[in-house]
Structures are given as C-alpha cells and as structure tokens.
C-alpha cells in the first residue's frame, strides 16, 4: 500500500490503494461467498440487498481480502476496495472526476469510479438508491460486457482493468415508492439477498465480534429474534446485528446486560415510549440483571 502520510496517530492512504490485509471476521450465512467468487470470475456486477447492519459491508471487505487469496497475481496485497456512499446530490463529476483550479491552471482529478476502473478494484456503491437516477445511469456502460467508462469532459473512454467489479448495496424495505431502482439499472446486476442470521449463527458472530461469552451472545441473539417480531411498530427493520455487537461489547466491558441492551438496543431503535417499554420488558424477561 502506498501510504501518503504516516504519523503515529493515523494512516492516510490513497483511495485506490486501500486494501484489506488482515482477514476480517465474516460468518457466511448461505452460499454468498461462492456466489460472489463466481460473479467475480465472470465479471458479473453484484447487487447486495438487505436491511442495515446485516453484514453487507463486512461481506465485501471479506471478499476483497479473500480474493487476494485467490489471485496470486501482480498485486499480492489483495484487491483494492473503493467505497462510495451515495446521496441525493451526488453528481456525475463526483463519481467520474472533475477539473480543479491550481493556481492559474487546471488539473484533472479522477473520481472514485475512475480510480477503481483504472486499478481494477472492487467499486462498492453503498445505498445506491439515494443517488439521483441521472447519475446512476452513468454506470451502465461499466456493467456491460464492454466495461467502459466514458469520461465526457476529457472526451475519453476508459476500459476497466482486470479485476474490476462493480458492487452496489440496496435496502429494499427502506425506500419510498419514489426512490426505487430503475429496472434498466436493476437488471444489470445479479442480486444476493442478505437477511438476519439464525440464532446460533448470530450468537457466534456476536461472540466473536464483541468478546462476550457464548451464553451472553445466545441471549442477545434470542433478544434480537423477539424484537424482530415487532417489525411494524415503527422499528423499521428490526434490530441489526451491529447493535447486538455493541451491546456485547459493553457487556464485555462490565456493563450489566440490562443496561447494555437499553442503550445499545432499545434507545437506539426507537423513540416511542410505549415501544421502548415493551422492548425493555422483553429484555428484563431474558436477562436477570
């Protein structure tokens, strides 16, 4: 990795150079790993669907590390991972690049997609639906078999390097009818659906990530299951695994389980007093203190 700056406090790395060097913990729920590997080999773009906190980002990190294992090729340090957080005001320039003023001159600077295309990285567009549709369509050429990125301002066409793959994430339950993926975009991707893991698996994840004991992790997974039964009451999608990991971490640090669940689960999920109370009652039924 070429580090731009290295100080005792932090690392500053160029975006296209960001690689995962240590194996991130990821517990496969189904066959998603195999699917992604196959897609990568075949250069098929991937759409990750699922609620928040369920492991989509972690999965991609894992895959970027994992792909490194499979590629004994030039860059031995793994496939770079470039993430773009999408939002409503995202413009084409933000993605592709723009000219900047430098003194009296101008300098072209590549956007994240362009960088990814050049180095053959995994380009991960997070919450792609947030972006405006006229911005989203510019990735269409990248999803074709041609894998071309047009840079209009420079009048250039960029062919993607080997190893480039486009990945998007998308939360179907969250959007209103207005903000939905156009079919012309959707149908360029294969979709892997992510859901909440089963109790045992979730417990393993919690335990591994937070350092909490297996018993506590099982109880937290049980709690999650129960709370997810309350989906309609303004809880959106239910409690994410991430929150459970937070709770586990707190418990590991010595916070009492009930308190940990209160701050990491109940209060994070909802502001409605009645719903809060109900969830707290479930917490107190499960945990003794």
């Amino acid at each position: 990795m070429t580090t731009i700056e290295h100080s005792p406090g932090f690392n500053q790395i160029a975006v296209e150079d960001f690689r995962i060097t240590e194996e991130p913990f990821y517990l496969p729920i189904g066959d998603e790993v195999e699917l992604f590997l196959a897609a990568y080999e075949q250069k098929v773009p991937v759409l990750l669907k699922g609620p928040t906190g369920v492991g989509k980002t972690r999965f991609i990190e894992y895959m970027s590390w994992r792909l490194h294992q499979n590629i004994g090729e030039p860059s031995e340090e793994g496939v770079p991972l470039i993430t773009v957080a999408c939002h409503e005001d995202l413009t084409a320039s933000d993605l592709v690049g723009r000219y900047l003023l430098e003194g009296d001159d101008t300098r072209w600077i590549d956007g994240p997609i362009t960088r990814a295309t050049k180095v053959g990285a995994i380009c991960y567009l997070d919450e792609v639906v947030e972006a405006r549709k006229d911005t989203t369509v510019l990735i269409h050429p990248l999803t074709d078999y041609r894998r071309l990125l047009p840079i209009d301002k420079r009048g250039e066409l960029l062919e993607a390097a080997d190893g480039f793959i486009l990945v998007m994430s998308y939360n179907p339950g969250y959007q209103s009818a207005l903000k939905d993926l156009k079919h012309s975009t959707r149908q360029r991707f294969m979709a892997i659906e992510f859901g909440y893991p089963g109790r045992d698996q979730e417990a393993e994840i919690i335990s591994k990530e937070s350092g909490a004991t297996h018993e506590i992790a099982m109880e937290l997974a049980k709690l999650a299951e129960k709370v997810r039964n309350l989906k309609e009451h303004g809880l959106g999608e239910g409690v994410s695994t991430r929150l459970l990991v937070y709770a586990g971490k707190l418990i590991h640090q010595g916070i009492t389980p009930r308190r940990a669940c209160q701050v990491a689960v109940v209060w994070a999920l909802t502001d409605d007093l009645e719903v809060q109370r109900s969830i707290e009652e479930v917490v107190t039924s499960i945990f003794e203190e």
């Binding site: 723009r98 003023l101 001159d105 109880e219 009652e281 945990f287």
Partner: protein, 1099 residues
C-alpha cells in the same frame, strides 16, 4: 249531699243539650275532684266546663275531655294552675274546639314529660299551627296528640323547632306535614340521644333548601344513618346541615349518597373521613360530600395512607382557589384525580398496561396476538372460564382486569408479566400443536396401540366404534372425532381425570421452558410458584385419588416437599414424580406431556377416591430420595406398594384448583377453534375431515372443558346451539383483526351481544376521548365514546344529478384547482436560466472553461411550487338542525320582501306561486346544501390530487357520538363514495368536541406535510349532557375550543365554516386565533367552500 253531688245535680241539666255522655262525665269528674278542692273551687271548675261546652258548636267535645281528664291532672297542679290551664284551653277553643279537645286530652301524657309551667309554651306551639282552615286544625290536633311522645325524646325547645319545620311544610303540603309529624315520634325515639338535635338541625336545613326532600329525609334518613358509625352520626349530620345550607337543593341527595358510601366503609374509618370532610367543607361543601361519596371506591384501590395522599392533592386544588376543580377531583371525574389514583395504587389495572403487554406478547410469541380482559370472554358467553384466570386460545391472550396480589405496584406488574409469559409460552412451545400418536422427544407414543386395544375391546362387546381408516399419508384417521386432542381424550374413560393430568403435565413443561429461556422472569415465576404452594388446600381433606393429583401439582410447583401421602403407597408416588420430571427436561414436547399424562392416568386410575377416614395409614412427606428422583417413565408394576385400600364409599372426583398464574388450559377447545378458523379460511387440513355440526355437538357434550352451568333453563340443545354460534363467530373473526363489513352469510347470529347485533351491516369501531371541563380546568377522562362507522350507501344518481345541476360551477372549480397543481416536485437544477445560481455548478463551469472544456453554462436552478403534500379532513355537521329548511331559516332573518299593500288577493297569489314552486322542488334543507358543497369540493380535490377525507358527525349524548365515514383519508375515490354522499342524512345533536378530536387523530395517523381540518356546521355545539343543562352554552363552546387547540398543537390547521347567522356570537369565543367564516347566504356555500379550501391549502 256532698258538694259534688249537689253541684252535679245543679248543673247537669245545663249539659243536657249536648252529647248524652256529658252529664255523666261531669259527675265522674266531680267525683274525682271531690276531696281536692273546696266547694267554691269545684263550682268554678264546673262553670268553666260549662262555659267551655257552650263556647262553640263542637266545643262540648272539649268539655267532655275536660271533665274526664281533670281529676288526673289535678294531682299535679294547684287550683290556680288548673285555672290557668282552663284559660289556655279556652283560648285554643276560641280558634278551634277540636284543637282544644286534643289539647286537653293530651295534657296528662304531656305532663309526664313537661312541667306545668311549660304548658303555655306547649299550647302555643300547637296554636301556632292552626290557621283557621280545617287542615291546619287537624294538624294542630295531631300535634297535640303526638307531641307527648316527641317530648319524650326531645326538649321543648327542640320540639319547637320541629314545629317550625312542620309549619314551613304546611306552606307546601299538609299531607307532607302530617306524615312528618306522625313519623317523627318514632324516629326520634330510635335515634341516640346525642343524634337527635343534629338530626333536627339537618331537617331544618333540608326543608329550607328543598321541601320535597323533607319527606324523603324523614322516611329514609334514619335508615341511611344506620350505616354510619354511631359515634359519628352527629358529626355527619352537622356536616350535612352546613353543606345543605351552602348548596341548597343538592344537599339531601349529597347526604344520601355520602351516607350510602359510608355504609360500605369500615366503621373505624368513619371518624377520620368525616373529620377530613368537615375540614374541607368550608372551602367547598360539594367537594367534601363528593369526597365521601367516592371514598369506598378509592378505599378499594388504596391503603389508608395512600388515600390520605390522594386526598391531599385534592386539598391543594382547594387551596389554590379552584373549587370546581377540587369538586371534579373528588368526584373522580378529572384526569388529575385518576392519574393520582393510579400512581398511588398498588393495584395494576389492565387497561394501563395492555398495549405494552400486547407488544411484549407479540415479541415473545412472534404471533399477532391481542390482549383483552378476561371479562370479555365471560361476556361473550363462550362459557369456559372464570373471570380472573388468564387464558389463551392461540390468537388472543385474556388477562384478569386487575392484579392486586402484592402491596407494590411494580410487583403486581411483574405478576401480569408472568401471566402473559406463561400464555405466550404455550404458543411458543407448542401446547396446542398436539398430534395424535406422534412421538415426543423423550418418549414414544402409546396412543395408537391404546386406540387399537380400545377398538378391539369394543368390538367384543358388539358395539361398533367409528371406523379407523388409513389415508394417503399413512396416518390413521378416526372419522368420529374432530380434533387431535379430542381423539386423545377419547382413549380414556375418565375424561375429567385425563384432562386434569394433561394440564398438569403440560403446564409443568411450559413452566420449565419459561424458566430456562427467560432468566429474567425466572425469579418472579418462582415467587408465584412459591406463593401458590403456600395456599394449596389441605390434602387430607380430599379423596385419595384427588390427593394424588393434588400432590403432583405441588411437585410441579417446585415444592415436592409439601407432598403428603400414605406411607405404604410411596412407590406409586415415586413413579409418578419420576414421570413428571420427564417433561421438565430440555426439548420435551407436548407429545411428551401427553404420554406422561397417559402413564399418570394409569397410575391414578388404580387409586380409589376414598376419604381419609377410610384409610388407616399415616400420611407422610416424601423422603430425600424421592424428591431428588430422576426422570423416568414407569415400567409397570406397583412400585413395591402395599395393596390399594378399598372402601365402598368413593367421593366425587374433582381436579385440583388451577394455580392462577398458569391460567386455564383448554386444548380441546382451542384446537377446535383453530380448525374452525381454518375451515372458514377455506383451507382444508389434509389429514383431518371437516367438522360437521354433529361432531361439534358431540364434542361439546363430552368435553369437560366447558362448564355450561348458567344457561337458561330449557333445552340444553338450544344452549349448545347458542354456544356454538358464539364459538363460530369467535373463530371466524380472530381477535384484533378488523371484521368483515358484511356479516357472515348464512349463519345465524345467536345470543345477542348488545351493540354488535343492532345493525348487521354497519360495523362500529369505538374510540374514547377525554372532554374538557373548563370549570374544573381539567379533562374528564375517557368521557366521550365515538362510534366510527362507514356511511350508508345510497344511489349513484344523486351524485350525477348534482354534477349536472351545478355544471358550470363544477367546471370552473375544476379548472381553478387544476391550475394549482404543481408540475414537478422538486428543485430543478442545471438550467440555462432560472431563479438561483447553483454555486457548485458555477464553479465547475468556471473551472471547466479554464481547462478548455466548454459545455453550455447550465448553472441556474428554479424552485417550482413546493411539493404538495396536503391532507384535509372535512367534517360535516349532520345534526337534526340541518334538517331545517332553508326557507324557514331565511324567514327568521329576513322580512317578507313583498308588500301586499293590504291586498289579500295579491297575498294569495304569492302564496299559490310559492306552493307551486315547492311542489316541484322539495324545499332545500341545510343538509342538502352541505351535500352539494361536498360534491363540489370532492371534484376540486380530485383535480388537484390532495389527500382528503370526508366525515359526518352527530349523535346523542356522550356515549354515542356518531362518526360517519363517507370517504376515509386513505381511501380511493370510487362509486362507493359517491353513493355514500347520497345517503348523508340528518341525525341528532352536535357534540363537536369529540368529533374534532377523532378527526384530528385520523389526520395525525396520516402522513402529510400540511394537515387541515375543515368543519362545516349550521349552529353552535350542543348535545344532551354537554353542559350543566340544555340551556348552558359555555361548557360546549369551551370544550370545542379546547379540541380545536389540541388540533393546532399537533400540527393540524382547523377551520370552521358555519351557516348560522348568529355564528359570530360564539365563534368569536370558540376560535381565538383559529380561522372561521360565517357564510352569509347559505346558498353560496357550494361556491364558497372550494375557494376557501384553495386559500387554506395554498400556504
């Protein structure tokens, strides 16, 4: 000759003209007086008597009495005194000889109570009552007759005051006065001495305040007082007097209510309560009596200390000068009061926690369960449970209406939690999923074999049993049964016994699961189990078999040490305990519970249910080994016991009382209902046949789960039929889900359920709202009940007619509104020209230009009209006043335009014309105009695309506010809505407050940036009970105002339109800074309404 004889001889002739007895009386009298007075005196006496006799027409009666009575009283008087008495009599006779006669006659007994000196006063009292008319004479006579008795209990002064009262009563009713006088003697006699004066004072106060109540008081008062602690009666009466003098007419009713309440409270507490009431009475008499009235209720919820604190809060209100508020507080009609009560009370009421428990139950079970009070199940007459036990049928959890087990509120809430968790446990852990002959986790099923054996045995007795056939799935199916559990129960002769054992086994299993899975609630479960085990009935009083089962229950509560069982039969008990432990293990299923119940049955059935006296063995607790026994199914054999004792006298067997934290368990019924539901949902369970009515009947007759005890006398069949209908009705509409609009086809609705049965078509949803009492400055909690229902549908033609009639107006309105519709929804950027320059784009352009790239400068943006996100609710007044014809309204305000110049023919002409007009077109009513305006508004809103709802309101009284949905906010506009508009008809009154609150709630539940509430009315708010009386206006106005403000506070903009010309009067008050409009000309309403809307929705 003695002077007596001589005198009588001399004067007797004078008396001859009067009644025959008079001379004789004279003689007797003289005889009696002879030794006492000298001749001169005697002569005077006689002459006085004769004078009396001659005094007036009937006065000889007085004289008669005079002669008769004198000897007796002469013993007490000197002659002078006697003279004086004679004068008194004569005076009275001057008014009425009847009265005089009564006076004289009563004197002897009177003198036993009063002294001679008091005779003046006494006679004056009677005299006072006499007014000359014969009624008053009779009264005064009555007075003299009864007063001696009175004087026995009251002082002369007191009697004087009583006479005052009676005197006052005579102004209204002599009959009343008489009855009071007649009853008074006994009343006062029966009162304790210290109570008499106060009773009298209160009587005075009552008479002054409301004379009609006096009779009630005298009739019922003493009885009412009986309920009050005897030492406190005087104080109570004093308080009542003060209150009555203060409040007037309400005095007696308040007293009566307070007395009735005190009767329900322990006497020791009366002193304190009355002291408290007396203390606050100066500030507000009404409040003090209301306090007493509410005392029993409050006392049932709070301990004395808690009640004190509750009362203190009320006193604070008084101290702040808010007397009305304090009155409402003590009357328990204020939110403050109720809040205080629930905060202080240890008792937890179900309504306060049911929403939360519902979510809790939903979370734990994963099912859409509802939580209802068990009272509902009893009401619905499904007839399966006692009121205070929790239970479930798989979709609803029924809980007791309140819990008061422990002295702390938090603990009682935990009790509710344990109840709920046990019920959700049944759902979560599959208590109702029993399948016939399926193996459990720890046991294999013996049901199939048992059934086969049973069939074989039956065949030998040549009674054919239902065929047992195998279906495609290979499972055996019995054609005669309807549910799996029923089939299982059919294996046993003693259904009661197996049902009880199955319950124990299954409950043990569920308890064990709950304990394992929910560590947090484990301590409370344990606590309740402990508590239950301490309250079990005495084992030795039961029959042996019943004792056996009872002991098993105790083991299931975790207290095997409380078992008591005959020494020589320990083997059997050991086997049973071991079996029970099987279901406590991890992964045990309901199948295991069934199998365990089976073996327990086999053990129990061997034990005769004989009383303890018939057994001559010691009953001992189990030893350590048995308590710690390992789970194990019995292998048969008697476990080393001595032979069972036998006796001919067996007792009737009953299952042990079910611990309340486990609630009722009715698997047969539940499976039945599940099956019915499936059938109605059109699903057929592949392995079982659909239920026929006969099967149902058979099931019900055989099942022990249903106690059809309180049915009407008459045939069981019809009762069962009713029960069945209820069951089906219940199964068809699982609790918590909205019911279908049309009643279920074909099935008869049995057993009236009150509101449901009224109209089969309209389903009514009930909602409760508080009402604002401006005098008390507080809300009356849950005061109004709003019934929301869909409007009736009429004909499509009406809508069309209106469109055609107002064709021009409709087109114009549509056009106006279409212009308002925005073209796009957002900020449009990257325009060549526009309102604003977008900075980012401008910079980029500039830089690109520098780089030599030259696209067009698209750096402007424009905002189109803000995204329209409006929701509006129209509330139409459907009160009876809208039925009024507009003509009539107009006539109120306008003068006749025509001036007929005194020419009658012109008048007739005009009248004829008018009649002709009316014949063609029926007179328009206000409601008609409202409807037409609605049509126009609807067209307008469809053009612009805003979300809207149309509702009508009316009703009568606070319990029945009608809320008609013509078009709901989420609803799409359709023919149905058009038809409903046709059917808008006037109903009754105008209780605006709750209607506004309900509409506000609807808007709140809807998602929109701008929310508007438009109310169209034709008059002021008024309704039965909407104010102190029908004429009071302020209460209704204030409540409406409060409701409007509440709407504003949650972001809803209200607006009032009225066609009442006097609208400004009250609307000014009602709508402080809320918009309103009084439409001058009613007929312009259709035109005005859309325009108003446009302005309102524009900002």
């Amino acid at each position: 000759m003695s002077s007596a004889a001589e005198l009588s001889a001399r004067y007797a002739p004078d008396l001859k003209g009067f009644g025959a007895s008079l001379p004789d009386e004279l003689v007797l009298g003289l005889d009696g007086l002879e030794g006492r007075y000298d001749e001169a005196q005697l002569e005077q006496w006689v002459q006085a008597g004769i004078a009396l006799a001659n005094h007036s027409l009937r006065s000889w009666e007085a004289a008669s009495e005079y002669f008769r009575v004198s000897p007796g009283i002469a013993e007490r008087m000197t002659f002078d005194q006697l003279q004086h008495w004679v004068e008194l009599s004569t005076e009275l006779a001057g008014e009425s000889s009847l009265m005089a006669a009564a006076f004289i006659k009563a004197t002897p007994s009177a003198l036993e109570q009063i002294s001679v000196a008091d005779l003046d006063a006494w006679s004056a009292q009677g005299g006072r009552l006499c007014r000359g008319n014969w009624k008053s004479i009779a009264l005064s006579g009555l007075y003299f007759q009864h007063s001696p008795r009175l004087l026995g209990s009251l002082s002369l002064d007191a009697v004087d005051r009583l006479v005052d009262i009676i005197d006052q009563l005579t102004e209204r009713s002599y009959e009343l006065a008489n009855s009071v006088l007649e009853g008074a003697g006994e009343i006062f006699e029966n009162l304790a001495e210290g109570d008499r004066e106060p009773f009298l004072s209160f009587a005075r106060a009552v008479t002054r305040a409301s004379w009609a109540d006096t009779r009630l008081y005298f009739e019922r008062g003493p009885k009412l007082l009986d309920g009050v602690d005897d030492r406190q009666r005087a104080a109570f009466l004093e308080l009542a007097s003060k209150v009555t003098m203060d409040v007037g007419r309400q005095g007696f009713p308040l007293f009566a209510d307070a007395a009735a309440s005190l009767t329900q409270i322990e006497h020791e507490d009366h002193k304190e309560m009355l002291a408290f009431a007396a203390a606050i009475a100066p500030a507000s008499s009404t409040a003090s009596m209301e306090y007493l009235k509410s005392a029993p209720f409050v006392r049932s919820r709070l301990t004395p200390e808690q009640m004190e604190r509750w009362a203190e809060a009320g006193v604070e209100l008084l101290n702040m000068g808010n007397a009305e508020g304090a009155e409402a507080y003590f009357r328990l009609e204020s939110t403050r009061s109720e809040d205080m009560l629930s905060a202080l009370s240890a008792r937890v009421e179900l309504p306060s926690v049911s929403t939360m428990l519902r979510m809790y139950a939903k979370a734990l079970s994963g099912e859409q369960v509802a939580v209802l009070s068990s009272e509902e199940l009893v009401d619905r007459n499904i007839g399966w449970m006692s009121e205070s036990a929790p239970t479930t049928e798989g979709t609803t959890i029924y809980l007791p209406p309140f819990v008061n087990t422990f002295p702390e509120q938090a603990s009682n809430f935990q009790v509710y939690k344990v109840f709920t968790t046990h019920q959700t446990g049944r759902m979560e852990f599959g208590s109702f999923l029993y399948r016939f002959d399926m193996d459990g986790f720890h046991t294999t099923s013996s049901a199939g074999e048992r059934e086969a054996r049973q069939a074989a045995d039956a065949q030998q007795t040549t009674v054919p049993v239902a065929d047992v056939t195998e279906d495609a799935a290979g499972t055996t199916e019995s054609a005669g049964t309807s549910t799996e559990v029923q089939r299982y129960f059919n294996l046993f002769n003693d259904r009661l016994l197996i049902s009880g054992l199955f319950t124990i086994a299954e409950d043990t299993r569920v308890d064990a699961y709950v304990s394992r899975e929910y560590g947090g609630i484990r301590p409370w479960l344990a606590r309740l189990q402990e508590r239950e085990s301490e309250r079990r009935p005495e084992v030795r009083a039961m029959g042996l078999r019943q004792a056996f089962v009872e002991n098993l229950l105790r083991a299931s509560l975790g207290r095997p040490d409380t078992i008591r069982w005959p020494q020589t039969l320990q083997g059997t008990m050991g086997q049973a305990l071991a079996a029970l432990k099987v279901v406590e293990q991890r992964d045990a299923t309901v199948q295991d519970a069934a199998e365990v119940a089976t073996v327990l049955y086999d053990l129990a059935v061997r034990i005769p249910n004989i009383p303890q006296e018939a057994i001559d063995i010691d009953w001992v607790p189990p030893d350590e080994e048995m308590i710690q026994i390992a789970p194990d199914m019995p292998g048969g054999g008697d476990g080393g016991d001595a032979p069972m004792p036998s006796s001919s006298e067996e007792m009737a067997f009953e299952n042990p009382e079910q611990p309340d934290f486990r609630g009722d368990f009715k698997p047969e019924l539940v499976q039945l209902m599940m099956k019915l539901k499936d059938q109605q949902a059109g699903q057929q369970d592949g392995t079982a046949s659909p239920l026929t009515k006969e099967q149902l009947m058979e099931l019900l007759e055989n099942s022990v789960e249903i106690t059809i005890s309180e049915w009407a006398e008459g045939d069981l069949a019809s009762s069962l039929g009713m029960f069945l209908d209820n069951l089906e009705k219940d199964a068809g509409t699982p609790a918590g889900e909205p019911k279908e609009k049309d009643g279920e086809s074909g099935e008869e609705r049995g057993g009236g359920d009150g509101a449901d049965d009224e109209e089969l078509k309209a389903e009514v949803d009930w909602f409760y709202y508080d009402e604002w009492d401006f005098r008390a400055s507080d809300y009356r909690p849950r005061w109004c009940r709003v019934g929301e229902r869909l409007g009736d549908e009429g004909e499509l033609d009406y809508y069309q007619e209106i469109l055609e009639k107002h064709h021009g107006l409709v087109m114009e309105t549509r056009r106006q509104f279409e212009l308002m519709r925005p073209e796009s929804f957002r900020k449009i950027k990257r325009l060549e020209d526009g309102q604003e320059i977008e900075l980012d784009d401008a910079i980029e352009f500039h830089v690109d230009k520098r780089a030599g790239v030259g696209p067009l400068a698209r750096i402007y943006s424009r905002r189109n009209k803000v995204e329209r996100d409006v929701a509006v609710a129209f509330l139409l007044d459907m009160s009876a006043s809208t039925d009024e014809e507009i003509e009539k309204q107009r006539q109120k305000y306008e003068e006749e335009e025509e001036d007929f110049q005194g020419d009658p023919s012109k008048y007739f002409q005009w009248l004829a014309q008018r009649r002709a007009r009316q014949a063609i077109e029926p007179p328009k009513r206000i409601i008609d105009l409202e409807k037409e305006s609605t049509v126009l508004v609807v067209e307008a809103l469809e053009a612009i695309g805003d979300s809207y709802g149309i509702y009508g309101f009316s009703g009568y009284g606070r319990d029945n506010v009608e809320f008609h949905v013509i078009k709901d906010l989420e609803e799409q506009f359709s023919d149905k809505v058009r038809k409903r508009i046709d059917k808008i008809d006037p109903v009754r009154s105008t209780r605006m407050g709750p209607a506004i609150r309900h509409a506000t709630q609807k808007l709140q539940d809807y998602d929109a940036k701008v929310k508007i509430l438009i109310m169209v009315s034709d008059g002021r708010p008024q309704d039965h009970g909407y104010g102190r009386d029908r004429t009071e206006k302020e209460y209704a106005v204030h409540d409406t105002k409060q409701a409007l403000n509440e709407a504003k506070r949650v972001g809803v903009t209200p607006f009032l339109i009225t066609v009442d010309k006097e609208g400004h009067d009250y609307l000014k008050d009602m709508c402080d800074d809320i918009g309103y409009e009084v439409v001058d000309n009613i007929e312009s309403l259709p035109r005005r309404l859309p325009t108003l809307y446009r302005h309102l929705a524009a900002d």
